[in-house]
Symmetry: C2
Subunit: 366 residues, 2 copies
């Protein structure tokens, strides 16, 4: 077995999930993630944890959902009881066919998902971590051969997370202490307030309240954006391709928008509700192991030399006690490349220029 | 997908497990049983049941057991809690490699199994059913090509179970009412008492207290055997091949034994404890879908035109209230072919001659 699968399992179990002896660990094994499951079980054994493997297959689920009359039982207690007693849930994503969900009608799928609200909440109450095992189906989705895709995934996952977490702590400190962020690049000059907001150091570990491996971003919940912004990184939302988005904000709301491709899809997003025209997130990608866009938000938004903004719902962890932040049914990330001809300022001081951070070699004062 | 996989799922869900709307069903999916899992999920959806799939892989388990220090936590409650709330547990056996268990040391495997005693008991408290999906690994073990092996498995599984259950009810009635069984064939003339014993109609359904699919045998717990018996069907016990066993019983105990191959292994069995030299089971194979020996007891002992006896432990379900029956650490089935030159009598009346039962065409009175 590829040594990197063992390394991946070690990062997942030790750095991300912080598994200790006696922990009850549910391992959710996707139908293409067998090899990672073996490596994870080995690490769990070493740590003296207990495991229970569940089988997650879109093909199995679609067969069930399709043949069911659609009146699903709400949160069957044999599953909630298991999750209530679990310390951690490790989701090993790795599909055999990324299109398999389409085999069940959307309405029934939605009803099934809805019937499992409590099950999902119980899972989120644990020290959960979601990661991805590079399968041929995911490689195909990313438009790569399997060898190249494996390199891509492991470069993103097998970081020196401790050192990256320290570096990201710098950025968190700047954002926590700052009041206003300004982003300047081609067709972009946007200011937004981050006063009283708390940034999250998303270092791919439950110890940092970060639940995806890979991760590598610092994000906060901005408000009152003013100005314009251009997103040049391709994205796909609900199956629709969207390219080259321009947004103009006035008094904190999107007042004008355009996209070279997928403008109707963009309009659908922005007109979902009032909150969909306000900002929910400002994120700074800091994982330099991710070196290209693959149209997968799990990777794209963490990429070094990128900044992303989300319209819609804000994360509670960024908000002061008692504040709800921006509310919306949507949270849609859009990414802009800041590797060249760009700068980000916090309270007038340049923090990042042409991709380099203030504390890095190569950062040039003007 | 092979239509027989769908038919298998239907027999399992409807005939064997008697799944109803609202049932909470744990589906244990072996690493080679994906296709059957899809078909079973489809049937469970049709019936309006709820499913939770667990992943059973000897490779995953061996990795865990091997790396663990061996001091396993006893019956972690996230797993017992799930099983306590389950109505049924369907085990879809179907390995990718039938030799994978050997990858963990036997002592640790035994300790792991021991630590899961309560988990197993909770599973046995449900309406559990175990079945087998024909994988290449199992075909290899049976010494067949995959196509031939699939035919073999589905011929055994896809019976008219209702009609077979009725036929087996005849045999159960005869054994329940009878006092003494006599078996006569080459090198065989054995009598045994079945007075006050209850036979089990093992019709591959929880409704018959029968938990394996395929099944197709009627068995009871005989005692006081006298005489000699010859087992001509090949068997493998704990990895040891045993062939052509002769046993001689006096006063209910084996007093003389021999085997053409594996006599030492036979001696190991018979000298395990006192109960290992007495009988625990008399079984009559009635599944004519099984047409050859494959050295797999799940199939062999159900084969039509065979009778098997087990030395060792008796099943409680055959015994009168309050009686313990024969006790032993072992229960080892040995099979004899009764298709030719043989007869079985109950209280002096011939019930089966040359494989034909009394109620069948072709049965000849002498």
């Amino acid at each position: 077995m590829d040594q990197r699968i063992h390394d991946h399992a070690e990062v997942l179990v030790d750095w991300s999930a912080r598994i200790e002896a006696g922990d009850d660990v549910v391992v959710r094994v996707d139908d293409g993630a067998h090899d990672l499951a073996v490596a994870v079980a080995e690490k769990l054994g070493e740590r003296g944890a207990n495991y229970l493997a569940t089988y997650v297959s879109d093909e199995v689920e679609s067969a069930f959902v399709r043949s069911h009359d659609g009146d699903f039982d709400q949160d069957p207690d044999f599953e909630t009881a298991m999750l209530e007693r679990a310390d951690s849930v490790l989701s090993l994503r790795g599909k055999s066919n990324a299109a398999e969900k389409a085999a069940a009608p959307g309405e029934k799928r939605a009803a099934y998902k809805q019937s499992r609200t409590e099950i999902k909440a119980r899972r989120m109450d644990t020290d959960w971590v979601s990661t991805i095992h590079p399968t041929r189906a995911h490689a195909q989705q990313a438009g790569m051969g399997i060898g190249e895709y494996r390199d891509f995934v492991y470069d993103a996952v097998l970081r020196d997370w401790e050192s990256l977490a320290d570096e990201m702590a710098n950025m968190k400190e700047i954002l926590d202490e700052g009041s206003e962020v300004r982003l300047v690049k081609e067709d972009t000059d946007l200011t937004m307030s981050i006063e009283n907001r708390t940034a999250v150091n998303s270092a791919a570990s439950v110890a940092y309240d970060s639940h995806n491996l890979p991760s590598g971003e610092v994000f906060t919940a901005p408000e009152d954006p003013e100005g314009e912004v251009y997103f040049d990184v391709p994205m796909t939302h609900d199956g629709a391709r969207i390219r080259d988005v321009h947004l103009t904000f006035e008094d904190g709301e999107v007042v004008d928008w355009s996209a070279e491709v997928g403008e109707a899809a963009l309009e659908d997003i922005l007109t979902t509700d009032e909150g969909a025209r306000r900002l929910g997130e400002l994120g700074i990608g800091m994982n330099r192991g991710i070196d290209r866009f693959t149209d997968s938000i799990l990777f794209d938004e963490k990429m070094g030399d990128t900044v992303h903004l989300a319209v819609g719902r804000a994360y509670g962890s960024c908000l002061p006690e008692g504040e709800d932040g921006n509310q919306s049914a949507v949270h849609v990330d859009m990414i802009t490349d800041v590797s060249e001809d760009s700068r980000m300022e916090v309270d007038g001081e340049v923090i990042q220029r042409n991709g380099r951070f203030r504390w890095e070699d190569g950062f040039e004062q003007e």
